[in-house]
Symmetry: none
Subunit: 208 residues, 4 copies
DNA sequence: AATGAATGAGTGTTCATTCAT
DNA sequence: TATGAATGAACACTCATTCAT
């Protein structure tokens, strides 16, 4: 109504109650997924939100769409953290480490979240794919800085590090919550278990 | 009834039936999990095996018990591989690397297998817990050798490496199948992304 | 607003918009019913037409109303065919046969169309009832000619023949599409399966 | 155990309560379909029968399977009627007529029944397909008799007549219940509307 | 010891219709 | 007048687990 940009077509006001509904559903979903993990019942969310299943479905046609919306709402946090890291880091290696830490926290928002995120990495159709792609790009930026600086291995790719943060989140699952692991997945991801590099001609990967 | 071997007591029917049933169920389960992942329907397995659901349940009271039996059947392979590594390795680092590779393959036997394995790591009640524990112990042995040799970081624990192999298997999931990752999870696990060690007083872990 | 034609009263917006909307909905509905049969989703039609569900509902309060409008748009064709038959037929029997053929084609416009048409035959409230009634009347006219000519049985009524064409369309459903039926429903409707007339005092109808 | 034929495997007694359950479900389904037509809710049937949805589904995996079972229960009636017709008819034409009348009644057992029956005529997978096929065969037999006798047109096939009875049932749908049609679909099927045969070289079918 | 019937809540999804805006 | 969000019951179908036989 006021200084609306030209990008939106007629830009009908999204009908205040619809927006309120949507927001409420998101609140409830956040709580429900927090309690029951990302596989929690969608029907239960609708019920808890006091809306019909159809309403939930209209706003978020798939579980992935709902998750994507939930994560979008957290995008601000992650962006803020990224900026804080950019301005506050003394070297690129620490910046990259900080960013990976942020990603790991982000992927740990709900129990089981890493699973659909990983799936989205190879399913372009998923609404989560875009989400992932954006963060992979950011990871690539931090990584490039570190590689320029000489503090990150040249052959590593942002995509790999992103996947590693998902795996780290996954490993953290409720199972390990109680165990304080002095050398965690993330440690390994940074420095590995070996004290020396493998011979150049040997296969480097356990996976082959 | 007719040509009964002498080994069985005077029991009416040799328990060979039950044993054959059990073995057949395992064969079928292996195939079914191979096709549908570890969340495949137990009912379907019973049906494919031509037994009642109750029979399946009697032999393997939980999905975990069935998985544990399936993995037990593969224990021989892994033991053989362990021995081959022990006798064939020139240094402890390569031996450890080889063992982790073997574990990663083992945990990739079925789609979704890493999930219950991770869960079993902190649930002592699970029939899979024992399975895991055995391999963790072996990992500890290989690791201790490497640490003695000075080729593995002192603060790393076998438990952590075992979990890392599960995470690596998990990351391999269909998602990455097509992507040839020049620096895979396993690479990262061995050497990390950093070229240098972090300062001694800095927090080393992304997870904290 | 700008070049408003003189025909419309001082109404704010020419109802041309509404008319165009209506026409567009009809176009889309024709295509959608063509693809998904007459039970296709009305919501989907509204979406494909780019209008709200309420708008569709305003123009066509029921599925029957929408179908009736769709068929009304085809009325011209059928009228033209009727005239062609009237002028081009040498005898009343062939004219009637031609008309029934036209009706059968008409009732086969969409998958499942015969169903609501039959329902409309006894539900005067339906918007399709009028449509049907008109064609029944025409059928009566052709039939009367044939009866006068002596080439149609006296006790047959237009209503019955109309229903028979619906049944023929119904029988044509995908089921028989592949089967070339040497003696089709329509053949039976014209000449029956019997070579001779049943005795006058015998019950003639299978239905009683 | 006793003189059990070799066809059934171990032929475990179907567990009396299961059989009772099955029968009860059939009773309830019959009533429910009678009230709501063949599209009535399966869930509702389960609820009315006091069993879980899974139980219904175990006995009758699809709606068609349930209908087939329902019709199988009526097979006795139809067989009895067939025998009565065979022994009681003076000529093959009347026998065929009687059989078609029986079929029409049979296909009118529930509202909407003709629809899945027609579908089954071209879908071999359907459990109803067998049902239909059996009655088509019987129709062929009656028809052959009539054709030998010279009282049925040579080019007609049992399959066509069976389909015509379905169409007749369909036309009878609630819609026409009130209307007493002096020349019904069935009349038309027997003798057609024409008093004379179409010219031999002319296309005989309205459908072409 | 084995069977397989029963359970029944749960899954995601659809849709005609109403109504707040 | 038109919109499209909301409704919410209904749909077919699944499955791990229990238990009567």
């Amino acid at each position: 109504m006021l200084t609306m940009s030209a990008t939106t077509p007629p830009a009908r006001r999204p009908r205040a109650d619809a927006q309120r509904n949507r927001d409420h559903i998101l609140d409830v979903a956040e709580q429900h997924f927090g309690e029951h993990g990302v596989t929690g019942s969608l029907d239960a969310i609708a019920k808890r939100a006091g809306v019909g299943a159809g309403t939930l479905y209209r706003h978020f046609p798939t579980r992935e769409a709902l998750l994507a919306a939930l994560l979008a709402a957290r995008d601000d946090e992650l962006v803020a953290r990224r900026e804080a890291i950019r301005t506050g880091s003394t070297d690129a290696a620490e910046a990259l480490d900080g960013w990976l830490r942020a990603l790991t926290d982000w992927a740990s928002a709900f129990d089981g979240l890493p699973e659909p995120l990983r799936a989205a990495m190879s399913a372009e159709a998923s609404p989560l794919a875009l989400t992932c792609q954006g963060y992979i790009t950011t990871t690539d930026e931090f990584l490039a800085d570190a590689q320029r600086e000489g503090s990150a291995r040249a052959e590593v790719r942002g995509r790999d590090l992103f996947l590693a943060t998902l795996a780290t989140s996954w490993a953290r699952g409720a199972a390990m919550a109680d165990e304080s692991s002095p050398a965690s997945m993330a440690d390994l991801t940074r420095t590995g278990w070996a004290t020396t590099q493998p011979p150049c001609d040997a296969p480097r990967s356990v996976l082959g």
